[in-house]
């Protein structure tokens, strides 16, 4: 589908893109993603997956794109009025059938689906706390949006340029060691972070959902190229995920 870029906001190597996509905006659930390509771009060959970072339910959706390679760079350089070829919403989402407090743990652009999740939880009056990590200050995005949606936002940077110095899982470990047990954890970010989250969740007996990433050729569930061992079986990250029960994922490849 052709979607018009409505607005662009850039910060360092990140860009926030608002796309006119009523159909996606209406159906989107947090944790789902879209496959995107700039119209007419011949390379890269595949479209690229990006999580929905917010959806207004009527007209537009928002993406948070970190420029890491040719595809994301091209997309991050979009200008208002440009047309993007977008398919979605794709994949499963995070569970919303939860009561107690949910801990959202995000690393880098992993915050994109969690921000959408936080807003959906708020609408359902389910409290959540956000733990946000990055290499440096530049990586800690959407803080004002998150503060509006969550009961609290705590940050770490590896270089200490903002919040606590260290990894975000440090904060999660401290929080889980505390007394108020959360109902669930939802995490998105680098594979290594997710593995630690899964480990902590298991240790503390808290259910956790993680959003996995793989290279995706189709994003539609037809090529079987994006599989991951989950529950001892190959599952397609694009169609059976990208959100999986952390305890079911085989982390040995991480």
């Amino acid at each position: 589908m052709n979607c018009r870029v409505l607005r662009v906001r850039r910060a360092g190597s990140y860009a926030r893109l608002w796309l006119e996509a009523p159909d996606i905006a209406r159906r989107a659930r947090p944790g789902q993603f879209v496959m995107v390509r700039p119209r007419g771009a011949d390379a890269p060959f595949w479209r690229r997956p990006f999580s929905l970072c917010s959806a207004d339910g009527r007209r537009s959706v928002e993406l948070l794109i970190k420029a890491v390679g040719p595809g994301s760079r091209l997309l991050a350089a979009s200008r208002p009025g440009d047309l993007l070829d977008v398919t979605g919403p794709l994949g499963t989402g995070f569970s919303l059938d939860v009561t107690g407090p949910v801990l959202l743990v995000g690393g880098g652009f992993g915050i994109a689906p969690l921000r959408f999740l936080a807003e959906c939880l708020r609408r359902r009056r389910i409290p959540c706390e956000v733990f946000l990590g990055g290499r440096c200050r530049e990586d800690l995005l959407l803080q004002s949006e998150l503060k509006l949606a969550a009961a609290g936002v705590a940050c770490t940077t590896e270089d200490g340029s903002f919040g606590r110095r260290g990894r975000v899982t440090l904060l999660l470990a401290e929080r889980l060691a505390g007394s108020r047990k959360p109902a669930r954890i939802a995490a998105a970010g680098p594979e290594a972070m997710l593995a630690v989250v899964a480990d902590l969740a298991e240790k503390h007996g808290v259910a956790a959902e993680v959003s996995l990433e793989t290279v995706m050729a189709c994003g539609l569930g037809v090529c079987n190229g994006c599989v991951r061992r989950v529950n001892g079986q190959y599952q397609r990250v694009c169609a059976d995920g990208p959100v999986f029960d952390a305890a079911a994922v085989d982390w040995s490849q991480a």
Binding site: R37, D42, A43, P44, F45, W46, R47, D85, T87, T214, V215, A217, C218, G219, L220, G221, V222, C223, N224, G225, C226, V227, R228, Q233, Y234, A239, Q253
Partner: protein
């Protein structure tokens, strides 16, 4: 300017399969069809060829299974599938409801496996036909693919031919010195059509990991990169047999499809293009209709092989 003829029709019968349009989704690129509901307008297509089925379920190859290339991709999925029995019981009731022709694709490591899978599929009500994927390593023949030796291929196709009366297409591999003898072998053994081509063998290296990108080391190249090679094989195969040739390999547009048709293809299959643009195949069908209109033709027939010299 063009003569205002009656609205052109794309419907045709290819290798005994009736198609609303000579454009199908290629095996392995449309899952069991169901996954594409909402993304594809099935009645606008001729049909779908389901992913290869084997006797037992197969988990498939280790990751990574795909690698991006210049105007193409490598895949080494490893024939991941639920197995023919589970397919027939659990998937078929839904798949058969797809509003277009549905062909099953058969794979196997031995002739006996091909025959068993074909025999099981033969019992399915509503199945439009079978396509044999003969690019699998033949375990009882030293690992050499079934599709590389004319005699081995002829025996295989003849055996499957005995197991089913359904339309039988044989999908040939381009990884041979000459496709003509293989096309003739399939025809001699009773194939109703041949599909040309499957993927080209390829490999990519991961510079960071210093190892092949694919878990399986090698994979099959598809996409626009292979189109000229596919056209060559279609041209050659169409000159070697009388049964219809179904062209496949890198087709993204109606113009691409028309090149295949001029080279001798009676229909085309669209694979990787669906990944880049889910509606590619139906846009190709619509484009072919416009091409006919512009040329004042009522069917594709006069164009099939019209570019051969």
């Amino acid at each position: 300017m063009s003569p205002r003829a009656a609205a052109p029709s794309l419907s045709c019968t290819v290798g005994r399969v009736r198609l609303a349009a000579p454009v199908l989704l290629a095996s392995g690129t449309c899952g069991y069809g169901l996954e594409l509901a909402g993304h594809v307008d099935f009645p606008a297509l001729g049909g779908v060829v389901l992913k290869s089925l084997t006797q037992e379920p197969r988990a498939g190859n280790p990751m990574p299974r795909v690698a991006e290339c210049s105007q193409g991709m490598l895949n080494a999925i490893g024939l991941a599938n639920v197995g023919v029995e589970a397919f027939c019981r659990e998937k078929w009731p839904k798949v058969k409801a797809l509003p277009c022709a549905v062909l099953a694709n058969v794979a196997g490591a031995s002739q006996a496996e091909y025959v068993a899978v074909a025999r099981r599929l033969d019992r399915l009500d509503g199945l439009a036909g079978l396509e044999l994927n003969v690019s699998c390593p033949n375990v009882s023949h030293g690992g050499m693919e079934f599709g590389r030796e004319p005699r081995v291929l002829e025996r295989l196709v003849a055996a499957v031919r005995k197991a089913t009366k359904r339309p039988l297409w044989v999908k040939l591999t381009p990884n041979v010195a000459d496709i003509a003898p293989l096309a003739r072998a399939a025809e001699a053994a009773g194939a109703d059509a041949i599909t040309v081509i499957n993927t080209l063998r390829g490999l990519r290296m991961d510079l960071k990991q210093q190892r092949p990108v694919l878990g399986n080391v090698t994979g099959g190249l598809s996409g626009p990169a292979i189109m000229p090679v596919a056209l060559f094989h279609v041209y050659r195969a169409a000159g070697a047999v009388k049964i219809p040739v179904v062209g496949c390999g890198g087709i993204e547009t109606a113009e691409d499809a028309l090149e295949f048709i001029l080279a001798g293809a009676s229909a085309v299959q669209v694979g990787t293009a669906t990944f880049r643009r889910p509606r590619a195949a139906e846009l190709i069908a619509a484009g072919l209709r416009r091409q006919l209109q512009a040329r004042g033709l009522r069917s594709l027939k006069p164009l099939i092989g019209a570019g051969r010299i």
